[in-house]
């Protein structure tokens, strides 16, 4: 059996990202001014790039909006 080919890829490290279930939800988030200022760009219709160092502020705003975001990469 031949070993699988190694796929050429480029890494983007330390990315602050919000993924939503659907595009409408992403629109809803972007309509929130306090949150939109911390969004640098929209990678796809449901992937938002967050300004570095502003993840906590985004989380706080999401919670204020009544969302319960799943925070990936921390555990208590």
């Amino acid at each position: 059996m031949q070993p699988a080919i190694r796929l050429p890829a480029k890494l983007h490290r330390r990315v602050c990202l919000v993924l939503t279930e659907d595009a409408v939800l992403a629109e809803e988030l972007l309509a929130r001014k306090k949150l939109a200022v911390d969004v640098l760009g929209r990678l796809t219709d449901r992937a938002l790039l967050v300004r570095p160092g502003r993840v906590e502020a985004v989380l706080e705003e999401l919670r204020k909006m009544g969302h319960t975001p799943s925070v990936i990469g921390k555990s208590v």
Binding site: K10, H12, C16, L17, V50, T68, I72, S75, V76
Partner: protein, 728 residues
């Protein structure tokens, strides 16, 4: 003897190892020589290994302890009995002074020099050349030292010379039908779990002096659940919430970082057996300084608190009476009053009048009794009598560990209104910790009440629990299965969380083609599809590099670079994949379309009238595009793009039939354009030799030029060097 978990031993060995790295070589050699007592001096590179090898050899450690003078030996025993390896130097000196060794820093320096004690230093601390100098620089009484648990533990049996305070009691003082009271030991674990939960939902900031801000103090003092009296309270205590916060911090349930207390994972000691949990709480209790059983919250920025040493000694005194004998709190207070160097000075005036009896009684009945360290014999018309429990003897005199209480796994009742009744007899530290992660403690009492809420379900899932795990816990410990309505409710709350995922620091993997991304997903390299070429692992961490050939590496926080070149058509944008960042992907699709069919590795986008209209509709102005091209391509917005952007906003362009007059040379053309007689008939100069004129003006131009002998023919084929030619 308490069994120390291997991980805890390793933690302290690691800390000691890091400390030894700060020792100057002569100091380290001196310590190792005194501890190891080798015939041949060990080589420098083996000094640390030889030290740890000796400290890991129990018979040698026992011998070294026996060789110590009385005061250092007792000091090591005190540390062992506290079950807390690290102590402030000032507290150790106080403890020694209380038991008759007012020798100041001497015993501590002796233990440091023999390698049985270590200074607590920061990783970036300067080199230690001399222990006395280190003490001076580290704050003298406030400096901290630690002993390895396996070393201090072996000194626990050393005699401390404390008196037996039990006295034969008269029949009048002794109750006629004695029924000792014995606590279930759950009150403090429950209260600490509750405060852990509160800090989890709202982290608490401390001042620079590690004291509480007024707002948090008020919140803790007013909290109805935290300040609920214990289920079988024998003595009221002030500021229970404050005590719980600092105690939780001392036991590692809360961690302090950058002035903020946050919830840490429950320690491994919070298992199904209560003894390890209570042992850890006992160890943490001897570290509490900001609380007093009579005063309540009592922070002090300068002086050392008498609380840790006084209450530790109170229990040590009880451990020196005969095992089944009762002691009065007053006898303990009297002894402390006479022997403790600072405790009497910290007691409020009213309590000082009775030599601190009420303070010791409050501590023993309010703190030690619920912690299952002592049992209490209530006496009519007199103060109660106290003696150590089996756990107390185990911790303070090395008695056998108590037999774990029988398990009652089915101790929860989940009600249809999403409340949980938790009967205490079946609660274990493990279950308390687990429930605290996803259910809100509402009532602490003989039967506790918790509530399932959307917020706490969310916190539970955030802490790493799964919905299935939560329901399993409730079913496993429930007297009845979780009601269907409650399971639905939990499912709905859990689903809500799945709608938004936030990655704080993810590694995104960009493949060259969508097919590569599909292959990566199929091979499990990544699991989440972000774009048609970019994916990431489900936990956002780095993928398996063995399956990838890295062709680039970008830090999201690095400054964006120029990574676009514009081709000659002014519309095709070529991406330099090595320099491109994620933001470029997000930016460029707003105003350009990817060109399909490019080979792997080549990324091109095309500016089209439609793509630029789309950008304008989304609010992107020409200025925005100018700025983008300047930053990303290092050139202005291409004219073709300007044409697309501005064309529709201009007046209608005109189309007019014109003749082109061709001069034989640029020089002649300049003359034609300069001479007013001919210039007036020229509509526009098209180039060095080409001029546009209206067809009806041709005769006038021909006439003017005829005057100087130049003929203008109107022929498309004929060419003559001294003639001007017009053509359509």
């Amino acid at each position: 003897m308490t069994v120390m978990s291997p991980s805890l031993r390793d933690t302290w060995i690691d800390r000691a190892s890091a400390t030894l790295e700060r020792y100057a070589e002569p100091l380290l050699r001196g310590v190792v020589t005194r501890l190891v007592k080798a015939r041949m001096p060990p080589p420098t590179e083996e000094l640390t290994d030889r030290l740890f090898a000796t400290l890991s050899n129990p018979p040698v450690v026992d011998r070294r302890i026996r060789e110590l003078p009385e005061a250092p030996r007792k000091l090591l025993a005190l540390i062992g009995l506290s079950h807390r390896p690290d102590w402030k130097v000032g507290h150790l000196i106080t403890l020694l002074a209380s038991i008759g060794h007012a020798e100041g820093f001497g015993p501590i320096l002796h233990l440091l020099q023999t390698g049985l004690l270590f200074p607590q230093v920061a990783p970036d601390a300067p080199e230690i050349t001399d222990f006395e100098a280190w003490l001076g620089s580290a704050g003298m009484l406030h400096a901290k030292v630690f002993a390895l648990p396996q070393v201090a533990g072996r000194a626990r049996g050393e005699p401390l010379g404390l008196p037996d305070l039990s006295q034969p009691l008269s029949d009048d003082a002794f109750p006629s039908s004695p029924v000792p009271r014995f606590a279930d030991g759950l009150d403090w674990p429950l209260r600490l779990a509750l405060v852990w939960q509160q800090v989890l939902t709202m982290p608490m900031r401390l001042t620079q002096a590690n004291t509480l801000f007024k707002r948090d103090l008020g919140r803790l003092q007013a909290d109805e659940v935290l300040t609920t009296p214990a289920a079988d309270q024998l003595a009221p205590l002030p500021d229970l919430g404050v005590l719980a916060v600092f105690w939780a911090h001392a036991t590692g349930l809360l961690t302090l970082k950058d002035g903020e207390l946050t919830a840490a994972p429950f320690p491994a000691s919070w298992g199904t057996n209560l003894t390890p949990t209570l042992t850890e709480l006992w160890a943490g209790l001897t570290a509490l300084e900001s609380w007093d059983p009579l005063i309540g919250y009592d922070p002090s920025e300068e002086s050392l608190s008498a609380t840790p040493s006084a209450f530790f000694l109170a229990l040590l005194l009880m451990s020196h009476s005969a095992e089944d004998q009762w002691v009065t709190p007053a006898a303990i207070a009297d002894w402390l009053w006479e022997h403790h160097p600072s405790w009497s000075g910290t007691i409020p005036t009213a309590a000082a009048a009775e030599r601190g009896h009420s303070g010791i009684e409050a501590f023993l009945l309010g703190v030690a009794y619920p912690l299952q360290l002592i049992e209490v014999l209530p006496c009519p018309d007199a103060s109660p009598l106290v003696r150590l429990t089996e756990l107390g003897w185990h911790l303070l005199r090395g008695g056998p560990a108590p037999t774990p209480a029988p398990a009652f796994p089915q101790t929860l009742l989940v009600q249809p209104n999403a409340e949980i009744l938790a009967y205490r007899q079946g609660l274990t530290p493990e279950l308390i910790g687990r429930l605290s992660r996803f259910a809100h403690w509402k009532i602490l009492g003989p039967a506790c009440t918790l509530e399932l809420t959307a917020d706490h379900t969310y916190y539970g899932l955030e802490s790493g629990l799964t919905l299935a795990g939560i329901i399993q816990t409730l079913n496993q410990h429930g007297m009845k299965p979780v009601p269907a309505a409650v399971a639905d409710l939990l499912q709905r709350w859990a689903n809500k969380r799945e709608r938004i995922s936030v990655f704080g620091s993810a590694t995104l993997v960009e493949f060259q083609t969508p097919a590569d991304l599909e292959a990566a997903i199929a091979r499990g390299i990544v699991s989440i599809r972000v774009t048609d070429r970019i994916g990431l692992t489900d936990d956002g961490r780095e993928p398996d590099f063995k399956q990838l050939r890295l062709i680039g590496n970008r830090d999201y926080e690095a400054k964006p670079q120029q990574c676009v070149s514009v081709e000659d058509d002014g519309l095709t944008l070529l991406i330099d994949s090595a320099l491109a960042d994620l933001l470029l992907e997000a930016e460029i699709v707003r105003f350009a379309d990817p060109i399909p069919g490019d080979p792997p590795g080549l990324r091109r986008f095309l500016l089209t009238p439609e793509s630029l209209s789309r950008a304008q509709a989304e609010g992107m102005s020409q200025d925005d595009l100018e700025a983008w091209f300047s930053a990303r391509a290092g050139c202005p917005l291409p004219p073709a793009a300007r044409l697309f952007l501005q064309g529709r906003t201009l007046h209608p362009w005109q189309s007019t039939p014109l003749l082109v007059v061709q001069a034989p040379s640029e020089e002649m053309g300049n003359g034609l354009y300069q001479w007013p007689a001919t210039r007036q008939w020229i509509t526009q100069r098209l180039g060095p030799t080409a001029f546009a004129i209206a067809p009806e003006q041709l005769p006038q131009l021909q006439a003017a030029l005829a005057e100087i002998g130049v003929t203008v023919t109107h022929s498309e084929a004929e060419h003559h060097p001294d003639r001007l030619i017009t053509s359509r």
